[in-house]
Subunit: 376 residues, 2 copies
């Protein structure tokens, strides 16, 4: 399997594929990547046609771990070998404006938003949407990058600067009760392995903790599943897809679609029988999908900016599942994650609290996740 | 971590180590090995001192996946970097005669046996032990190789040939009710993570299926655990160790000690929270050990000689856990294994039966394992 991008998602794909006899080859412009230890790495810019040729040789099917791969690269690869998911999934989701139009067409709701083509059109958008609002670049945003929160009129200057550089959308600030996500893996024949809804805690625009399955008293999980599966179907998507949602007083709003394996599904490596990575590869290879139910309640904690030594993690909780990505430390960088799986929700919460003080773990998010994990 | 040997056990060590941030380097004389895709491979004979030097550079600690590594190689590595388990564990278990003496010293029982230094001493041994008996080479035997079953006086000629080539032992043929094994992982501080006793089914001298936890009505599991932990302690062993036992009408007899991760513990990858591979690495690195209890009843089926395509396995059981080693097919060769984990013993048996007809699976052993799996 050829993988566009060779970060931690590529690494976890390679590790999930190894027992299945799947060998991964990566195309990524970085010289040193954390996936390269587990597959061949073609180190090249995405627009180098010779590199694309080398990447495609001997590869049966290609996929991506990174949705901001240039659409032309995806198309060039897709002309040589099957590309799953297809270019449709990439193109529909790379631009926030067309993504939102697509979501509405699929029958799901999004926050009120307006297009902002340049600095001058920002004022009109503000009169339409009101403040507070989020100004987001239409393309290439992730982990809160390419976003400005406009609280009051004095923030508008910063907004004009962003909008002057790139096409944006202005989106009404959503008062949500919680953030959840749903991960659907769709096979070629339309069968879906959909993991239980996950609750996500962010800080500084970065995911810090996930709780799975998310507490679900009112059928929200079923609704999220329906939304995720409908979107996957409408895209003709093959492979994993994550829909991030806001749960509001008025129901679920789609915040974003990631047409790939997703950080909020990392708990599935330890908390489900066949992880999002394994199921993604199985879909991409045209094989039957595996079980996607949760084995037991799980909490995932991201390690951001710094990572504790494995021995320190295991001293704090010998049963913690440790995932270090082999990346060098840098502020804001995802360096690893921990998963705690426990049948007993009180024990789960206690164990998560014991990890909250570790370097790289966002303490408040971990404590909040422990609290949330006790709610079924 | 440096690993002597680079077969499937090395491969599974590397895959278990990757999430913990452990990188493996292998020393193995084969040119192409199935572990090399997941770690650096120093391809060299075990007695090449330059290669040993290269192997040891940058490596924090060494271990082995193969107990027939020459003791001198182990010693040469151990002089440069910590070697875990130590040379003691290798030396005591490489020779069947000294292994049996050691087991008796540790308070456990072995089958009646006699030393056979050459062809001429076979007759004396036969008069002592009687027939039927097994003649086994003292060193380098595995998977039934280097063994001759002497049923009646006419078999003795074949025995004389084997004994003429290598020092042997003659062992009384044991009428056993079943074969079981216990895997102990011992840490530097003496703490043990001991997995539940496993029942093993052999055919043609090769392990075909394991059932874990083994049915245990009379405290046999506790006795096996005591034997395993005592042996590990007496060896000052650090890391995984497997004791293969015969359950007889008169109690447990130790058949063999493997001072390493073992095929009968492969179910722990999917059926326990922290596998034998992960716990071995944690012991070797001096880290706290992880949980070793079974998540649910499991059956492991070896794929010998030929391996089905992953898609065929997953069509037969989408929830089967597939482990293919990336080796080329050859009669008698271990090419992979499958694990079925299921809370429901009847469902477990049904699922195992559905896999019994796959190429590489030993049909009779799989059907027998399904039967045994329904007994708790």
């Amino acid at each position: 399997v050829g993988v566009l991008g060779a970060g931690q998602l590529g690494r976890m794909l390679a590790l999930a594929g190894a027992p299945l006899g799947i060998t991964c080859r990566f195309l990524d412009p970085s010289e040193s990547t954390c996936a390269a230890a587990f597959g061949e790495h073609v180190s090249s810019e995405y627009d180098d046609s010779g590199a694309i040729e080398r990447f495609c040789g001997e590869v049966d099917v290609a996929t991506f771990e990174f949705e901001n791969v240039p659409a032309e690269t995806a198309r060039a690869v897709g002309e040589r070998i099957p590309m799953r998911p297809g270019a449709e999934s990439l193109e529909r989701t790379q631009d926030r404006l067309s993504e939102r139009a697509f979501v509405r067409d699929a029958g799901a709701r999004v926050a009120a938003h307006a297009r902002v083509d340049d600095a001058d059109s920002l004022d009109a958008a503000i009169s339409e949407i009101g403040l507070p609002a989020l100004l987001k670049t239409r393309r290439f945003g992730y982990d809160g990058k390419g976003q400005v929160l406009l609280h009051e009129p004095s923030d508008v200057d910063a907004g004009r600067q962003l909008a002057g550089r790139q096409p944006c959308i202005l989106e009404a600030f959503v008062e949500f009760e919680r953030e959840v996500s749903i991960i659907v893996v769709r096979a070629e024949d339309g069968a879906c392995a959909t993991f239980p809804m996950t609750e996500n805690l962010h800080a500084g625009g970065i995911l810090r903790a996930s709780i799975a399955p998310a507490a679900d008293s009112g059928g929200t999980g079923d609704e999220a599943r329906r939304i995720g599966e409908t979107i996957a179907e409408r895209l003709g998507h093959i492979g994993a897809l994550c829909v991030e949602l806001f749960e509001t007083a008025r129901g679920l709003l789609v915040n974003e679609i990631a047409p790939r394996v997703h950080n909020s599904g990392h708990w599935t490596i330890d908390g489900a029988r066949a992880s999002q990575f394994e199921n993604h590869l199985r879909a991409v290879c045209g094989w039957p999908l595996g079980p996607s139910e949760a084995i037991a309640p799980s909490v995932m904690l991201n390690l951001i900016g710094e990572a504790p030594a494995a021995s320190d993690i295991l001293s704090a909780d010998p049963a913690a599942r440790v995932h270090l990505y082999g990346k060098s430390a840098r502020p804001g960088r995802k360096l690893g994650h921990l998963t705690v799986v426990d049948e007993d929700r009180e024990a789960l919460a206690r164990r998560v609290r014991a990890l909250a003080g570790l370097p790289g773990v966002h303490r408040e998010s971990a404590l909040a996740a422990a609290e949330r994990a006790t709610v079924s």
